[in-house]
């Protein structure tokens, strides 16, 4: 058994060596390199995840992942804001190279729509928000409510499923952007605002009086949010996947924005050595520089740092790590090994 695996591995290694650079020939990567910039699709505005600050600089959780990816490639990054309806045509048409945009990994998006998901950077679920003075305490009390929701999302589909299966009636009012949904809800067009729970926290923090609104306890769906790329360019998908994994592994291994440069020289951990390009050829295998992961981590830090800086307890969103804690600490964040 073991011998068989060894033989297969050896064959693969031989093939890899034999074909050399040809292994990582990605049209997307090529065009990014020749352009000198990564085009990263983000939301039009979602506090904590992707928003332009007063000076017009994009900030947020998803934005950081874009920056890390660009750093790993050694290029600049261009942010392309897209609303829920625009995001898929934008990716399909090549207007963006990758979507880091609260996009749920679903079967039909993986197949019919022609995308690949390179992993999950935020495990989420759909929730409901209502006005505090409405007296609603549970999603089961929402029979007959008017609900504001984004067009073209998993959210509007889950909403239908939930009310249907609970035998409740509702009226959906559908808008194109998250901002429109928030404004409509805030103005009283709807009783309920529904989207991913993280999105709800973000939207609430952007309201006039955030304290006037509460998020109901029910989570009605699984929303694994992750980076999406076009189907058919597997090498590019691999790069996105492993940059994301590198950020997660960095937290497992205690690498931070501050210490990663030092660790790159001093570490004795063989996996960290491989990751940071001290030994092995993972960078080469991906078609990147040997210090790709080092550059990515130096840019944004590890997963925990990114989380706390943008959406963690000390920010207006005040999200708990929850599922997005490392597997070793009770969450389900689990990156495959670098080997």
């Amino acid at each position: 058994m073991k011998i068989r695996i060894c033989i297969i591995a050896a064959v693969f290694a031989l093939v890899a060596v034999g074909s050399g650079q040809a292994l990582a020939a990605s049209p997307t990567l090529d065009s990014i390199k020749s352009r000198g910039a990564l085009k990263c699709g983000i939301t039009t505005a979602l506090a904590g995840f992707a928003f332009a600050d007063k000076r017009g600089v994009w900030r947020g959780f998803d934005v950081d992942f874009c920056r890390a990816l660009a750093a790993a490639l050694g290029v600049k990054v261009k942010f392309i804001p897209t609303n829920a309806k625009e995001r898929f045509p934008a990716l399909q048409s090549g207007e963006v190279d990758v979507l880091f945009r609260n996009t749920t990994w679903t079967l039909s998006r993986d197949t019919r729509l022609g995308f690949d998901f390179a992993g999950v950077n935020y495990y989420d679920g759909q929730g409901f928000m209502v006005r505090k003075d409405s007296g609603i305490k549970s999603a089961k009390d929402l029979d007959g409510a008017t609900v504001c929701v984004n067009a073209g999302t998993t959210t509007e589909l889950n909403l239908g499923d939930y009310f249907r299966s609970n035998g409740m009636k509702y009226k959906a009012v559908v808008y194109e952007t998250g901002t429109e949904v928030r404004q409509a809800y805030e103005a009283g067009r709807c009783d309920v605002h529904t989207t991913d729970a993280s999105g709800l926290a973000a939207q609430r923090s952007a309201m006039k009086v955030p304290g006037d609104h509460i998020i109901l306890p029910e989570i009605i769906s699984k929303e694994p949010l992750g980076p999406a790329v076009r189907h058919g360019d597997n090498e590019w998908g691999d790069i996105v996947r492993w940059v994301l994994n590198a950020i997660i592994i960095a937290e497992e291994k205690g690498l931070t924005q501050g210490n990663v440069s030092r660790m790159a020289i001093s570490t004795k951990d063989p996996e960290v050595q491989r990751l940071l390009g001290k030994t092995g050829s993972v960078g080469d295998d991906l078609g990147l520089d040997p210090d790709w992961a080092l550059k990515a981590i130096r840019k944004i830090g590890n997963y925990g740092e990114v989380f706390e800086r943008n959406i963690g307890k000390k920010t207006p969103l005040a999200l708990a790590r929850g599922l997005n804690q490392l597997w070793s600490k009770g969450g389900i964040l689990y990156a495959p090994p670098v080997r």
Binding site: S31, G56, P89
Partner: protein, 369 residues
């Protein structure tokens, strides 16, 4: 003036009845000549009074004009104009980088200067001046977009917005749609069945569908038509859609002009031995286009209004910027001020153009006589 003339005419016949002359007479004649006209006048007057006073109260008397902090507008019943003044640059050029805002201003100055110079007929006839008009689009493009050879840093079209984007989309739209529309119109008149069918098909198809579907087509489907890796900019794709759309309408405008020119003209030209193109360019088109210049200006007005649809495909033209400003929680609820301001800008642009069209119309019809 006219009073003098009337006074100068000796009263040959009995003058008009006393009550019909002077201000009072005019009012009687035009406002209170019958009982229902009197009622209408009173109703209209009260409507005008009500609208004007409430607008003045809201926009001027109770309004707040200065202040930088949005809190300055707290407790104000009238308009909060700082939402405009604070976002002025935003309305004009969108998210164009702050420190580079002198560049669109430069471009504007170039255009204004060229237009001002046109006042002197001497300059208007100078070759250099005409050349300047011809190269001005390129210069303006370089100023706004930037170019490494001239040491101007590139500004991505995603940062083009506001009035600037609206004007660019409409002007470029009209300028490019015109020659295409011209060819389509000639094609539609052509006796060659294939060319005729192709042109009629294109014109009728585009005119049969709403602009928004054309924009969707150019922004969503167009990229699928090209080989992988070939990428058109989002603004450019919208611009292509606008040109495709406007061309079909221009074609109909030109066709109207061609119909106004007697076929005999063309036949006479042909009989003189001119080729088709010669007779078109030298004889028919000059006459046809002259007839339709006013119509062309009004179709330019329509196009200017229609460019506002690009907000739906996510561009930030003037209307898009209005929505962007309103999405900022700081300016929550300042819808009236923002939309009224934006409407005023559109109105000034469109109204002045329509006045211009009317002047041309009068001038041309006078010239025909």
């Amino acid at each position: 003036m006219s009073g003098e003339i009337i006074g100068a005419v000796p009263p040959l016949e009995a003058g008009p009845p006393k009550m019909n002359i002077g201000v009072v007479g005019w009012i009687r004649m035009n406002l209170f000549n019958t009982w229902y006209n009197s009622i209408l006048t009173v109703l209209s007057l009260s409507l005008i009074y009500y609208t004007v006073t409430s607008l003045l109260n809201w926009g001027v008397r109770l309004a707040r004009f200065t202040g930088v902090k949005p809190e300055d507008c707290q407790g104000i019943d009238g308009a909060c104009w700082p939402v405009i003044s604070d976002n002025w640059a935003f309305f004009m050029v969108g998210t164009y980088p702050y420190e580079l805002r002198w560049r669109p201003l430069m471009a504007l100055l170039v255009v204004v200067a060229l237009i001002m110079l046109a006042v002197w007929p001497r300059i208007r006839r100078m070759r250099l001046y005409q050349l300047a008009w011809l190269v001005s689009p390129i210069v303006i493009f370089i100023i706004i977009k930037g170019s490494d050879t001239f040491g101007l840093s590139q500004v991505d079209t995603r940062h083009w917005g506001g009035v600037m984007l609206t004007v660019i989309l409409s002007v470029v739209g009209i300028v490019f749609a015109f020659p295409i529309g011209l060819m389509l119109a000639l094609g539609r008149r052509s006796r060659m069945p294939v060319i005729n069918i192709l042109c009629v098909g294109y014109i009728e198809m585009i005119r049969g569908v709403p602009l928004i579907t054309v924009l969707f087509m150019s922004s969503i489907m167009l990229p699928l038509f090209f080989p992988e890796g070939f990428n058109l900019d989002k603004v450019l794709r919208a611009q292509i859609g606008i040109i495709m759309f406007a061309a079909a309408y221009q074609a109909e405008v030109v066709r109207g002009g061609l119909q106004g020119v007697d076929r005999g003209q063309e036949e006479a030209a042909m009989a003189l031995g001119l080729s088709y193109w010669q007779s078109m360019v030298l004889i028919v088109l000059p006459q046809a286009l002259k007839i339709v210049i006013p119509t062309m200006v009004s179709s330019a007005i329509s196009l200017l209004k229609d460019t506002s649809l690009v907000v739906i495909i996510g561009l930030f033209d003037l209307l898009g910027i209005a929505n962007l400003v309103l999405a900022n929680p700081i300016w929550l609820g300042k819808m009236f001020e923002t939309y009224v301001f934006v409407a005023a800008i559109y109105w000034v642009m469109c109204f002045s153009m329509s006045r211009y069209a009317r002047r041309l119309e009068i001038r041309f019809s006078a010239g025909d006589r």
